[in-house]
Subunit: 158 residues, 2 copies
Amino acid sequence: MEHRIERIKKHLHSQSYKLTPQREATVRVLLENEEDHLSAEDVYLLVKEKAPEIGLATVYRTLELLSELKIVDKINFGDGVSRYDLRKEGAEHFHHHLVCIECGSVEEIEEDLLGDVEKLIEGEWGFQVKDHRLTFHGICRVCQKAAVSSGSNTSSHN
Amino acid sequence: MEHRIERIKKHLHSQSYKLTPQREATVRVLLENEEDHLSAEDVYLLVKEKAPEIGLATVYRTLELLSELKIVDKINFGDGVSRYDLRKEGAEHFHHHLVCIECGSVEEIEEDLLGDVEKLIEGEWGFQVKDHRLTFHGICRVCQKAAVSSGSNTSSHN
DNA sequence: TTAGTTGCAAACTCTTTGCATTTAG
DNA sequence: CTAAATGCAAAGAGTTTGCAACTAA
């Protein structure tokens, strides 16, 4: 964890940005919640626990900065809120998401599923792919089980 | 075109919604601009040309209704604006998009590229896929050519 | 020392809502 | 006739910005 902070610090310095305590606290919150998809407000509340004086505007500015530096990815699941996701070390592509339409849970898929599809896009459409966003909407394992055990009689031909 | 209006009318009636002149005008605008990805504001301005009395709130309400009825899809390319896209007749899945990071153009791909990937998701992750959103960000054909002819010397190993 | 950063409050943008009035079916 | 829909203006939610004070490098 510390080495990741250190790396981000260098990344900031290389562009003559400073690593302020507020920024460090924000990055720490993101590191400690890598699995989640926090909104700016979520981050704000968590940062506030460590550094109560921080303002929401600073969180927004920090997240925007980290986003520009490709340290985080800004995503949008369709509710009107932006969420921020730390990029995995050395990840070439943005990871994918499985969003459950029942319970709202979000699962991440690191695996690159789109290699072939991207080749097709470049070949057939002449479009040079730089990044992608892929989200599946559906029903997660847990909610499928819940539906079965509550006796919903949807014919499951599987 | 008229038969598509007629079909939508029936779809509305079947749920005891009315096809008001405002709704019809909105649907017509969407039909006439199927290729584009209009924001609510865009739709509002276009509808206003035919039906100047319409209010922005009505456009929002209509788009939300059409979205619920799966007549349109609501999408979000990351700028803070929702865009609305008429579903193609009989389209099972949401189509894909190629967004150019140079010129902002958006191209649509009707072809279903994710059949295999979805099977994998269902098999490996036990996640029952209902729909997906796939957007590629990159450089469109036109901007690639522009970059070459303006003599940008980025080594293109292709 | 000083360019960069912060907190605050006010401003902005997009979207939703309350309500009196109108209208499609 | 009446439930549904409309237009307007006001309210909400999320995000951005101006500015004087502050601070990391």
